[in-house]
Subunit: 131 residues, 2 copies
């Protein structure tokens, strides 16, 4: 006689919560709690990213003013190529899709260049009256 | 006889490529140094953001698996609306353009939904063979 009768299929079904998708409210509560826990982490990370990017734009605004004051072009393709290569490497080591990291940086850089062009325009006007 | 011959205009022109504004090489070095300093901060922030987003995707992957396992839809418009409203507020308090923060979140969410759909597809296949 074997002990294969102890396999307990019905108990297994009840625990996995998959008898025709009829999840008990306890299981549903557990799923909600887990979802809330994960979403709180996501919200914390988003707040951190927003604040990091605010700091990043403070630095790029300074770069923009420096470039405008010294008549350097707003965009710098060599610098951007180096940034993209570096971020792709960092993404790989952090198990993040490097293509996504590159798209994200391009998205941020586009915003930075828009800022630089605004600054360059403003400084040009100021320079015009201050010369 | 003056020492103006030592001005070395041709060397200066080669370095700065800009003798109309006649900046000394010392000024140019200072500008370069300031640009490097700011760019190092930007690179540090980018590395932090990449690692924060890697952590964010770890959390959203878990959300994706949870949703797929419990047959919840990959996208959640109510949650997204709350996230966008919250991030816009955070952006304002951090002196970041709220429109930019919203565009950025939408950009990230689009990637997350793509991941969730992939997970849902994979889990469907696994479920099909494991049932």
């Amino acid at each position: 006689m074997t002990t294969s009768q102890n396999h307990g299929t019905s108990r297994h079904q009840a625990e996995s919560g998959d008898n025709e998708h009829g999840r008990g409210s306890g299981d549903e509560r557990a799923v909600r709690a887990e979802l809330t826990r994960l979403r709180q982490s996501i919200d914390n990370i988003d707040a951190a990213v927003v604040h990091m990017l605010a700091e990043r734009f403070k630095a790029t605004q300074q770069v923009g003013h420096l470039k405008a004051r010294h008549h350097l072009p707003p965009a710098d393709p060599d610098r951007e190529a180096r940034q993209i290569a570096r971020l792709r490497e960092l993404a790989v080591s952090a198990h993040l899709d490097p293509a996504f990291a590159e798209k994200l940086l391009n998205f941020i850089i586009a915003e930075v260049i828009r800022h630089h062009e605004t600054i360059a325009g403003t400084t040009e006007d100021e320079a015009g009256s201050a010369h």
